[in-house]
């Protein structure tokens, strides 16, 4: 038995899903899609039930990845019954999606969530009437209090009724649907989609397109607009029928502070800054703990085993990679994810997007791009994965270039470990400053050069609410799992590769080969090239390798301040780490992956040479 939860973003699906499944949530990739679905198993009356949490969507007709995924899921009868979750406080808008879901005529029940919030706002909802209109069972619930949650599953299991709903469309649309049904023999549902220009069958799409253009000529409106208007009118009709507005109580609206330019923007800066600062402080502390423990209890005993040198080399490389993965993943990336998931669950990130819209426009992007950029401060890998919230390829490409330059937590370690420790804290900040200038210049150049149309931001600002600890933890955990899944194999493979290089002496040849660049152009010691090479594998490894190769942890005694500064800036700019390149390749293709790598390599070298010349 498969049951799927469907609903608007922010309708409380995830919380209900969580309360129904408890632990043991799995994340599965839906075939042919980049989006992951959360699945969980529940035992009810000795029957195994698979629950699926579909991504939150606004409509079933759109072409965003989420909408396409849910549509396909419904078309293939992916679930035996549906639990449609609607937000009682935003009834009319939620009914719009509900009406579309009902048109698919799958067995379903309706959960009217946040009924308590609605009551507090003086909204009285006639759930029985709603049930009659849609022809299925309706359950009022309040997921936050856990009210009626236990009744969802029994009801969903019994749900045998499929809603029979007929939305009255414009008569031209109805005529078109009928004629397509007759000529092409396709069901109403498919024809509706075809009229709006989507669907897989080419013949149907062509036939629908010619009718659609006729309707558009006559109505001076796109078919999508007409259909959406008809559905909204239907939703409004239902809402006025079942909704009674009692006395409204005025509540203080936090948005009156948060979305104003002042004090909204200072608050935004403060929140982001404290997020990054706390990640850095907590991260450094945890990293020292993890790396220290790992070295004492695993690396040192391992080197005491006395294995064959080659086996020892390989084993050592694997262990170092695991250490590296854990040393960056948990202290920095996980801490960052916790903070980010917390912010996301409050609904603040959409306010941030709104406030940042202006600044982002200057960079050829729009407000929503702030989310990947902020994530980039934690780690570029998840930042690039989150790029799909941007709608056009152009925005994704520009943002990808910028993200590879954003100082992620690993680069922060390099800046802190080399520059702040041996050159001075002011100089460390100057690196951030240089990087930000470079990001802005890159953005301005990129927005001129990248082809494609710019598309603005259309984003719902959900009501602010208190995040749930469990959901935040779970979200962060799922994210870190995804991160480890991508980064770990790469870390291990590259580590073995580099280990073998070292073993067979290839490293020395490499050093000699690039010595002219390292020594005369950048003014660095010969061995610095190896450290930089290791930095491709994991940025802060550049710093650690440098310490190992120079033979002392006190880098200030072997290299001049200018050398340290140059080294730090080159290593943080040049080539994004291997995991970033891999995820760039996966999300945006080979061309972007290669271009960003080449660009950052060039940029790193250029800035390094400039600093070397100017400061020597």
């Amino acid at each position: 038995m498969k049951i799927a939860l469907i609903g608007n973003p922010g309708a409380g699906k995830s919380l209900i899903f969580n309360q129904l499944t408890g632990l043991g949530v799995e994340v599965n990739k839906y075939p042919g899609s980049a989006i992951s679905l959360e699945c969980g198993n529940v035992c009810y009356k000795k029957e195994k039930i698979e629950l699926i949490d579909l991504p939150g969507i606004y409509s079933l007709d759109g072409d965003s990845e989420e909408e396409v995924l849910v549509r396909r899921f419904l078309e293939k009868n992916g679930a035996d019954s549906l639990i449609a979750v609607i937000d009682a406080t935003k009834l009319e808008r939620n009914l719009y999606l509900l009406a579309q879901v009902a048109e698919y005529s799958l067995p379903m029940i309706i959960v009217v969530n946040m009924i308590d919030d609605a009551e507090r706002q003086g909204l009285l909802i006639d759930t029985a009437r709603l049930g009659t209109i849609f022809g299925c069972d309706v359950l009022p619930a309040a997921a936050v209090q856990g009210k009626n949650i236990d009744r969802i599953l029994p009801l969903a299991l019994e749900a045998s009724q499929s809603p029979v709903l007929h939305i009255p469309y414009d008569h031209h649309i109805e005529a078109a649907l009928r004629s397509l049904e007759k000529t092409m023999g396709t069901p109403r549902q498919k024809n509706l989609l075809a009229l709006q220009g989507s669907g897989d069958e080419l013949a149907l799409r062509d036939a629908a397109a010619s009718i659609a253009s006729e309707i558009e000529q006559r109505h001076r409106m796109s078919v999508g607009q007409i259909i959406a208007t008809n559905r909204h009118n239907f939703a409004r009709g239902v809402a006025t029928e079942i909704l009674k507005q009692g006395p409204k109580r005025k509540k203080f609206d936090l948005d009156s502070i948060l979305t104003r330019a002042f004090p909204g923007i200072p608050i935004l800066c403060l929140i982001l800054f404290s997020l990054l600062l706390s990640v850095f402080v907590i991260g450094s502390w945890m990293e020292a703990l993890i790396v220290g423990g790992f070295t004492t209890y695993i690396l040192i005993p391992f080197s005491g085993l006395g294995l064959h040198p080659l086996a020892e080399r390989i084993g050592y490389s694997i262990l170092v990679a695991v250490e590296a993965g854990l040393g960056i993943a948990f202290p920095f990336v996980f801490t960052f994810y916790l903070g980010l998931s917390f912010l996301e669950d409050t609904g603040y990130m959409t306010r941030a997007a709104f406030l940042a819209d202006r600044a982002m426009h200057r960079l050829g992007l729009h407000g929503e791009a702030i989310i990947p950029m902020v994530i980039g401060f934690g780690c570029a890998v998840p930042a690039i994965m989150s790029l799909r919230i941007l709608k056009t390829r152009r925005e994704q490409t520009i943002a990808a270039f910028l993200i590879t330059l954003v100082p992620c937590s690993a680069r922060t370690v390099v800046i802190a470990g080399i520059v702040a420790a041996f050159v001075g804290i002011i100089w460390a900040f100057s690196i951030y400053f240089i990087v930000f200038i470079l990001i802005i210049i890159t953005a301005i150049v990129m927005s001129r050069l990248t082809p494609g149309e710019q598309f603005g931001m259309i984003v719902e600002m959900p009501s602010l609410r208190k995040p749930r600890v469990k959901l935040v933890l779970q979200k962060s955990w799922l994210r870190i799992k995804e991160f480890l899944f991508i980064a770990m194999p790469l870390l291990i493979a590259t580590s073995i590769f580099l280990g073998l290089f070292q073993y067979f002496g290839v490293i020395d040849t490499f050093q000699a080969l690039v010595a002219p660049i390292t020594v005369s152009l950048l003014g660095l010691p010969v061995y610095a090239s190896t450290a930089l090479l290791f930095g491709i594998f994991r940025k802060e490894l550049a710093f650690e390798t440098l310490a190992v190769l120079s033979g002392t942890a006190d880098l200030g005694s072997v290299m001049t301040s200018v050398q340290l500064y140059t080294f730090a800036i080159v290593s943080i700019l040049f080539i994004p780490c291997i995991s970033t390149v891999a995820v760039l390749y996966r999300q945006l293709g080979l061309k972007v992956a290669v271009l960003t790598s080449v660009y950052s390599l060039g940029l790193g070298m250029l800035i390094g040479v400039l600093i070397n010349i100017l400061m020597k």
């Binding site: 808008r93 607009q225 948005d255 819209d357 202006r358 149309e453 931001m457």
Partner: protein
């Protein structure tokens, strides 16, 4: 009488009749076209001879079927041209109108048809960029009287104003906007407007944040 003058007359008569739903007199035409009243009467006689207009005893001027056909043709040309100049090329509305008045007499029917099609879908075979669909321009524009450049956009109003959505142009024609409830006829309230015209509107009890370019593509009127 020059053909362009004849066309101007027919257009003016048609416009007046539509706007005030009563036929104009010679006086109205003299004002509208900025031509001396005596000359207007001379031209009207000529038009009546050609079978374009009928002037009744009270001096009310009505168009014959032939006059209406020609008038409509020229009016359509004017509207299409003005829409193209102001909406696509971004000219000032009144400048576009003046310019359209000049071009409309020389331009061929085919050019106008093609221009009209272009306005509706400027990129007929726009290739999908890696699966990301480029937004089609809405066919809502170019309706003449009202929706072409006359209406005000969401960005022109202040915080707290209740507005009714009239039309959604160009790139605002996104599916997401429709799905969130921003459709013609919907009442929206501006909750927040920043200096750069980024806007938060309340629609169907939900807040929606919009970039300036999206907000400016949403034509609205103050709600009653």
């Amino acid at each position: 009488m020059k053909p362009s003058l004849r066309e101007d007359f027919l257009e003016a008569i048609l416009n007046h009749t539509r706007r005030y739903s009563s036929p104009p007199g010679a006086e109205d035409l003299s004002n509208g076209l900025a031509i001396d009243i005596g000359n207007v009467q001379a031209h009207l006689r000529e038009l009546a001879l050609r079978g374009d207009v009928v002037v009744d005893v009270k001096g009310a001027i009505t168009l014959t079927d032939q006059g209406i056909a020609t008038g409509n043709q020229i009016l359509k040309k004017h509207e299409t041209l003005q829409c193209f100049l102001s909406e696509i090329l971004g000219m000032d509305t009144s400048a576009a109108s003046v310019e359209a008045c000049k071009i409309e007499h020389a331009v061929s029917d085919e050019t106008i048809d093609r221009l009209g099609n272009y306005i509706r879908t400027p990129f007929p075979q726009s290739p999908d960029i890696q699966g990301v669909k480029t937004t089609k321009f809405c066919p809502g524009r170019g309706q003449g009287n009202g929706s072409c450049g006359y209406a005000q956009s969401l960005g022109d109003f202040k915080e707290g104003q209740r507005l009714i959505v009239k039309d959604i142009l160009g790139r605002g024609c996104s599916k997401r906007l429709l799905d969130l409830g921003v459709v013609p006829g919907e009442i929206v309230v501006i909750k927040r407007k920043l200096g750069n015209r980024s806007i938060v509107v309340q629609v169907k009890d939900c807040d929606v944040a919009l970039s300036p370019e999206i907000a400016s593509a949403i034509c609205v009127e103050p709600a009653p």
